[in-house]
C-alpha cells in the first residue's frame, strides 16, 4: 500500500516532463513505469522537434502562428485549433528550457540550435540533435529527474486505473521483480503511456508500445478519441520495420522507384517533392508499389542518400547509417535503402483538453497516449516530441495546481481494487488455455495490417471488425498466461498487454469503418474525398464489452477555415 | 560539493608512469650490464671491479633505479590490492606495510650498492 499525491504512469518524455513540473510545484510525485525510464520508446525518436525559433537562415521570419497553420493544414483540419495555438506558442520556451537542461542539440555556425526542413512545414523549424533527438531529450529529462530526486517505481506494470464516483483514486500495479500486486493510491493520476503501435504487425514501435495504456482508462469509462487515424511513416526499412527518420528527406534524400525516377514529382509540386506530409508521401509510395513500380516489382522503393555524401551522412544521420548496416547490411553512403510505409503513430488516444484533463476528475493524460487533438487526422513530423513536452508539462502543472489530497479515502478504495486484481490474476492461472495468446494476437495484427492499413475500404473493414471481435472472444476465453513463478513472469505481462491491444484494435477498426470519408491518414478508396459537411468531427469511443459505443464531437475552429489541402 | 569526494590519485598515477619510463632505461641497462655482458661467475669482486671503473655513474644509476623500482612495484601491488575492494581497515594497514617495506628495502639496496662501491670491507 503506497500513497503519493500525484502518480504518473509511463516514464517517456511526457511522463518525465509532467513529473518535473509537478515536483517543481512542490508536490509528492511518483512515476510508475514498466521499463526503466531510459528504455522508453521516446528515445527512439530520430528527426527532431518543431519550434518556431527562426534560427535557420532560410526561415528568419518563422512564427508560432505559421507553425500553427502548418499543423492545422497537416492535420487535414481535424486538429483543435485552440490546442494547436497553445502548443506552437509554448514551443520555443520548452525547447530553450530543454537546452538549458543539457539536451545536446546540433548547432548552426552561429552557435544557435540547428533546425532542418521537415515534411509539411513551410519553414525549416525542426530542431534536432543529429538523428537521435528523442534519445537526447529523454536522457536530458531523466537527468533532471535524477537531479530532483523524483521517486520512480521501475518495472511496475500498471494493470488497472482505480476510478470511483467518476474520480481517479490511484492505480493497481504488478511488481515484475517480485510478482506482487501492489496498490498505489493517489489523488491525481497522469497517464503518459505512449502509443499503440504494436496493435499492428508492421510497425516502427517498440515492443512495449502496445496500447494497454489507452485501454486501461478506456475500460474504466474514459472516452478515447480519433483512434482510426493511424499514421504510416513513409520510410521504414523492409523486413525489420525500423524507422528511417524524415530527417533523411529533410537533409535532401530522394525516393526512387524501379525506374530510378523521383516519383514524388508525379504527385506533389516540384518545390515540395519528398517533403510532403507523411500521409501523402506514404500513399504515394504505396501507390507506386501497388502499380508494380516497386524495386524489382517488390513491395518496396528506395530511399537514396548517396548524393548527400559521406560527410553529411556521418554528421547529420550517423544513427541511420548504423541501423542500415546492422539490420540490412546496406551502407547508405554507397547503396540506396529499401523502404516501405510502416505503421508509426496513433494520432488518437485518451480524450483530453489542452490541460491534459479528461472526462474523469483528477485523471490526466499526455503524450501519444492522449489525444488533445493537435494532430487531427495526420501528424506533422517533429510535432510529437513537441506535444510530449508541452502537454506533459501542462498536465503536470494542472494536476499539481488542482490537487485535493484525499489520502485515507483513496487508499481504502485502491486497496479494495487491488484485491479484485489479485483475484483476477489468480483466476487467470487456474486453468490453462487451449490457445497460444501470441498466435491470436499475431492474427489480430495481420488483420489490422491487411484490412485497416493505408488504403481502406468498406467490405474489408467489415470483415476486419468481425474477425477481431471473434479473435477477442477466443483470446479472453481460450488463452491463458503460463503459470510460471512470480518473479519476472513476462508471459503474464505480455498476456495483459495483448488484451489491451486487441480491445483498442476493435476501436480502430470500428471507427475507421464508420468514418465515410478520406481525411489525412484515413484514406478510403470508396470515399476518396474529404467531407467537411458530415465528417469534420472527432470520433469518440466509450467502452462496452460487446462493441465500443461511438459518438462524435465537433472540431474547434478559430482562425483557419478548412480549405483543400494541396502541397 | 558532493558527499562522495575521496582522496585524489593523480600523483600516484603520474609517478607510476614516470617510474615506468625510468625503469625501461634502468632495468634494461641493469640486465644488459649484469646479465648479458657477463664473463664467468658473478662474485663480489667482479661486481666491485665493474663498479670501480665508473663509480659516479653507478652511484647515480642505482640511487635512482632502486627507489623507482620499489615505488613502481609496491604501487603496482597496491593497485592489484585495491582491485579486490578490501575493507577500509585492511587498506590502511596494507598501505602502511607497503610504505615500511618499500622504504626499508630502498635503504637496504642503497647500503648494498654502497658496500659494493666501497670494495672489500
Amino acid at each position: 500500500m503506497i500513497y503519493h499525491d500525484i502518480i504518473i504512469v509511463g516514464a517517456g518524455l511526457a511522463g518525465l516532463r509532467a513529473a518535473i513540473e509537478a515536483s517543481d510545484l512542490g508536490k509528492d510525485v511518483a512515476v510508475i513505469t514498466k521499463v526503466h525510464p531510459l528504455r522508453s520508446h521516446s528515445g527512439a525518436a530520430q528527426g527532431g522537434v518543431n519550434a518556431a525559433l527562426a534560427n535557420n537562415p532560410d526561415g528568419r521570419d518563422d512564427t508560432p502562428d505559421k507553425h500553427a497553420y502548418d499543423t492545422v493544414k497537416g492535420s487535414d483540419f481535424l486538429a483543435d485549433q485552440d490546442a494547436v495555438d497553445v502548443m506552437t506558442n509554448e514551443a520555443p520556451a520548452r525547447i530553450y528550457e530543454l537546452e538549458h537542461w543539457g539536451c545536446p542539440f546540433s548547432r548552426f555556425k552561429d552557435g544557435t540550435i540547428a533546425q532542418r526542413p521537415f515534411g509539411g512545414a513551410a519553414y525549416p523549424r525542426t530542431c534536432y540533435g543529429t538523428d537521435k533527438t528523442g534519445h537526447f531529450m529523454l536522457h536530458a529529462l531523466y537527468q533532471q529527474c535524477v537531479k530532483r530526486n523524483i521517486k520512480f517505481y521501475e518495472e511496475f506494470f500498471v494493470m488497472k486505473l482505480v476510478v470511483e464516483d467518476n474520480q481517479a483514486r490511484g492505480v493497481v500495479a504488478l511488481n515484475l521483480g517480485t510478482g506482487d500486486i501492489v496498490s498505489f493510491a493517489s489523488s491525481s493520476v497522469i497517464f503518459a503511456t505512449g502509443g499503440s503501435g504494436r496493435i499492428y504487425g508492421k510497425t516502427t514501435n517498440a515492443h512495449v508500445s502496445t496500447g494497454l495504456g489507452v485501454a486501461i482508462p478506456f475500460w474504466e469509462g474514459v472516452a478515447i478519441k480519433d483512434m482510426e487515424f493511424i499514421q504510416f511513416h513513409p520510410t521504414g526499412i523492409i523486413g525489420k520495420y525500423i524507422l528511417m527518420t524524415e530527417g533523411c528527406r529533410g537533409e535532401g534524400g530522394y525516393l526512387l522507384n524501379n525506374a530510378g525516377e523521383r516519383f514524388m514529382k508525379n504527385y506533389v509540386s516540384e518545390k515540395i517533392m519528398e517533403l510532403a506530409p507523411r500521409d501523402i508521401t506514404s500513399r504515394c509510395i504505396q501507390t507506386e508499389i501497388n502499380q508494380g513500380r516497386g524495386i524489382n516489382g517488390g513491395k518496396y522503393v528506395y530511399l537514396d542518400l548517396r548524393h548527400l555524401g559521406k560527410k553529411k551522412i556521418m554528421e547529420r544521420l550517423p544513427g541511420i547509417r548504423d541501423i542500415c548496416i546492422d539490420f540490412l547490411g546496406v551502407d547508405p553512403i554507397k547503396q540506396p535503402i529499401p523502404i516501405h510505409p510502416v505503421m508509426h503513430y496513433t494520432m488518437g488516444g485518451i480524450d483530453t483538453n489542452f490541460d491534459g484533463a479528461t472526462s474523469v476528475r483528477n485523471f490526466y493524460a499526455a503524450g501519444e497516449a492522449a489525444c488533445v487533438s493537435v494532430h487531427g487526422a495526420n501528424r506533422l513530423g517533429g510535432n510529437s516530441l513537441l506535444e510530449t513536452i508541452v502537454f506533459g508539462r501542462r498536465a503536470g502543472e494542472h494536476a499539481a495546481k488542482n490537487l485535493k489530497a484525499e489520502k485515507e479515502k483513496n487508499t481504502r478504495i485502491a486497496e479494495k481494487a487491488k484485491k479484485e486484481q489479485v483475484k483476477y490474476v489468480e483466476g487467470l492461472f487456474k486453468n490453462g488455455g487451449k490457445e497460444n495468446p501470441y498466435e491470436i494476437k499475431k492474427q489480430v495484427s495481420t488483420v489490422m495490417d491487411d484490412k485497416v492499413g493505408i488504403f481502406r475500404e468498406e467490405t474489408n473493414m467489415k470483415k476486419a471488425v468481425d474477425e477481431i471481435k471473434e479473435l477477442r472472444i477466443r483470446y479472453n476465453r481460450d488463452s491463458r498466461p503460463v503459470k510460471s513463478g512470480k518473479i519476472y513472469n513476462y508471459d503474464l505481462l505480455w498476456y495483459l498487454e495483448m488484451k489491451g491491444s486487441i480491445d483498442i484494435a476493435v476501436v480502430i477498426a470500428a471507427g475507421a469503418l464508420a468514418r465515410k470519408e478520406s481525411r489525412g491518414s484515413h484514406s478510403r478508396t470508396d470515399f476518396a474525398k474529404r467531407d467537411d459537411d458530415n465528417w469534420m468531427k472527432h470520433t469518440v469511443a466509450v467502452f462496452n464489452d460487446k462493441a465500443p459505443v461511438i459518438t462524435y464531437k465537433p472540431v474547434v475552429v478559430t482562425k483557419y477555415q478548412p480549405v483543400e489541402r494541396k502541397y | 560539493m558532493s558527499a562522495h569526494v575521496k582522496a585524489r590519485g593523480e600523483f600516484l598515477w603520474f609517478f607510476q608512469r614516470v617510474t615506468a619510463l625510468l625503469l625501461v632505461y634502468f632495468l634494461g641497462m641493469h640486465i644488459v650490464i649484469l646479465h648479458f655482458i657477463r664473463k664467468g661467475t658473478i662474485t663480489f669482486a667482479s661486481v666491485a671491479e665493474k663498479f670501480a671503473a665508473n663509480p659516479v655513474f653507478y652511484k647515480v644509476f642505482y640511487f635512482i633505479f632502486i627507489p623507482a623500482l620499489l615505488f613502481h612495484a609496491f604501487n603496482g601491488a597496491w593497485s592489484v590490492f585495491v582491485d579486490y575492494n578490501p575493507p577500509e581497515k585492511a587498506r590502511k594497514i596494507t598501505g602502511a606495510v607497503f610504505w615500511v617495506i618499500g622504504i626499508s628495502l630502498t635503504v637496504l639496496g642503497i647500503i648494498a650498492v654502497n658496500s659494493l662501491l666501497g670494495g672489500v670491507k
Binding site: H36, R39, S40, H41, G43, A44, I95, Y96, E99, H100, G102, P104, F105, S106, R107, D110, G111, T112, G129, K132, H135, F136, A140, Q143, K147, G177, A206, H207, V208, G239, K240, G319, I323, D326, F327, N436, Y438, P481, V482, S484, G485, I487, Y488, N489, Y490, D491 | S2, H4, V5, K6, R8, G9, E10, L12, W13, F14, S79, V82, D83, Y84
Partner: protein, 237 residues
C-alpha cells in the same frame, strides 16, 4: 534450417544454480538474436525472462553475452555469428534476477554518483546557450551512450570491485566536463579522480570492444586522467 539457442536459465524460485537450456529456433535470413528469444517465448517456453523494448539498438534494454562477446541482442544478426549454436548469457557482475534479467541498480547508482545533469555556472539566457559547432563536437559520441551496461559487464575491474564507477559513469562524467555549458568541471573531476574512479581503470579495452555505440570509454577515461592531472598541477583546467 534451425539454430540452437543455448540460454543460461535461472529461476530463483526453483533453481539452486544457473544452467543452460537448448532451444531449436527456425532460421531465416535476417533473424536477430532478440527475434530468436521472442520466438522461444512465444512458441517454446513462455517462462523465459529477458528485457527488450525498442529492438532498434537505441533503448539499451537487451545487452547480454552472445557467443563470446557482450552485444545488444536486437542488433546482433544470427548470420553474423557464423555458428549454428547461439550461446546467450546475462550481463556479468550483476545479480541475476531471472534468466537474462539482471539487477542493474548498482550500475545506475554509479551513474547517479557523477551527478549526471547539466550544472551551468552562467545565468540561463532568455534563449539558448550558444555553443559553437566545435564545442558541440566535443560531446559528440559521448552523448550517444544508451546505458546498456555492456561495458560494465565486460569490465574485469567492475567484477571484483563493485565500488568502481565503471566505464559508463566515467563516460557520462566526461560528457558533462566537455560540455561548454557546464560549469562544475573541478567538482566533477573530484568525484572521478580517485581510486574508485579513473585510477581504477587498467586500460583493458573490453569496454571499447563491446560498446554498441562505438563510444570508446577507455579513451574517455584516459582523457579524464589527463584533465585531472593538469587541473591538479595548475589548479585550473
Amino acid at each position: 534450417m534451425e539454430k540452437t539457442f543455448r540460454i543460461l536459465r535461472y529461476d530463483p524460485e526453483k533453481d539452486q544454480e544457473a544452467h543452460f537450456q537448448d532451444y531449436k529456433v527456425p532460421y531465416e535470413k535476417g533473424l536477430t538474436v532478440l527475434e530468436g528469444l521472442y520466438y522461444i517465448l512465444e512458441n517454446l517456453d513462455a517462462t523465459l525472462a529477458f528485457r527488450s523494448s525498442c529492438r532498434a539498438a537505441i533503448c539499451g534494454s537487451c545487452a547480454m553475452h552472445i557467443n563470446g562477446q557482450y552485444r545488444l541482442a536486437c542488433r546482433t544478426q544470427v548470420s553474423a555469428l557464423n555458428s549454428d549454436l547461439i550461446t546467450v548469457r546475462p550481463l556479468s557482475h550483476l545479480t541475476i534476477l531471472k534468466d537474462l534479467v539482471v539487477d542493474l541498480k548498482p550500475f545506475f547508482d554509479n551513474y547517479k554518483k557523477i551527478e549526471p545533469y547539466l550544472q551551468p555556472e552562467k545565468a540561463e539566457p532568455a534563449k539558448e546557450f550558444t555553443q559553437s559547432e566545435k564545442e558541440r563536437g566535443k560531446i559528440d559520441k559521448l552523448v550517444d551512450c544508451i546505458l546498456c551496461a555492456a561495458c560494465y559487464g565486460s569490465c574485469p575491474v567492475a567484477s571484483t570491485n563493485p565500488k568502481y564507477l565503471g566505464p559508463q559513469a566515467l563516460v557520462a562524467a566526461l560528457r558533462f566536463i566537455n560540455d561548454s555549458r557546464d560549469g562544475k568541471t573541478q567538482e566533477r573531476l573530484a568525484i572521478v579522480a580517485n581510486d574508485e574512479g579513473i585510477f581504477r581503470c587498467h586500460t583493458i579495452f573490453n569496454c571499447q570492444q563491446v560498446c554498441p555505440k562505438d563510444i570508446d570509454p577507455t579513451n574517455a577515461i584516459l582523457k579524464l586522467r589527463g584533465k585531472s592531472f593538469m587541473s591538479k598541477l595548475t589548479g585550473k583546467i
